[in-house]
């Protein structure tokens, strides 16, 4: 068991908040996903003007 703990200690950096335990890598990926979600809603979608009167956009 002690050997496995030594192996795990080199596996990465972790954040600890009480019972909440997460690797820095996973926290960064989740933060990036949330940022992309917010940007997908906030950023305007590029589109060209309709080329005829029937265009819905």
């Amino acid at each position: 068991m002690a050997n496995t703990q030594v192996l795990a200690e080199g596996a990465g950096n972790y954040l600890d908040f009480g019972i909440f335990h997460i690797s820095v890598t996973n926290a960064l990926i989740m933060g990036a996903m949330i940022a992309i979600f917010i940007l997908a809603i906030a950023l305007p979608f590029p589109h060209h003007e309709p080329d005829d009167d029937e265009g819905a956009r």
Binding site: I29, M33, I36, L39, A40, I41, L43, F45, A56, R57
Partner: protein, 225 residues
Amino acid sequence: MSAVEGTATPAPGATTPEGSPSPTRTSWTAWARYRITHTVPQGQWLPDRQPAYVASWIYVFGMATLVSLVIVIGSGVVLALGGSEWWHTSSVGHYVNSVHLWSVEIFFAVMAIHLWGKFWMAAWRGGRSLTWTTGMIALLAAVGTGFTGYLSQTNFDAQWIGAQAKDGLNSVGLGAWFNALNPATALTLHIIVLPLAVGAIVIMHVILVRRHGVVPPIDAEEPTS
């Protein structure tokens, strides 16, 4: 709803309100043809125009999920052809292995963002409950495929995860049905059973999206045609 789902079945050869012949009861060929051509409204299999509200980045993530799934399956097929000795030892094998890993990472990331977007716009509205349900089942099936993928790496990482999964599954009483330490079971589930399940559910999901159209934002008016 298509005419074929109505309670009353028109006489064979009769014309439906949509103006097309109804399926005949005596021919499964005609019935199948009718179902194939009427499951999705005409022109909606590959539409080249969408309502104005679709011009938003949040509508991109469903297609991004599909594209990454194609890369996942394609790289997985190459890994299956090469075998574990190839992907563990050769530089090209390492590359394809990494493509498989990172396309899976992107697949789950964009699928999660797709889920968030659809959840907050209540995408089950307008008769789309089955679309929502198939999406959730596809997510669960994909998670199972990912977990068995961890067990199929043929390295110490897979061995470690298998041992942890074994304890977890035994603790909830599932150890009698699935042995996470059996690599043959994990590999067969990962490359045959679960990909077939994910593929079939995703196809159903896409057909339902094309049948009912993409869900409009909550304050937007849905087009009538």
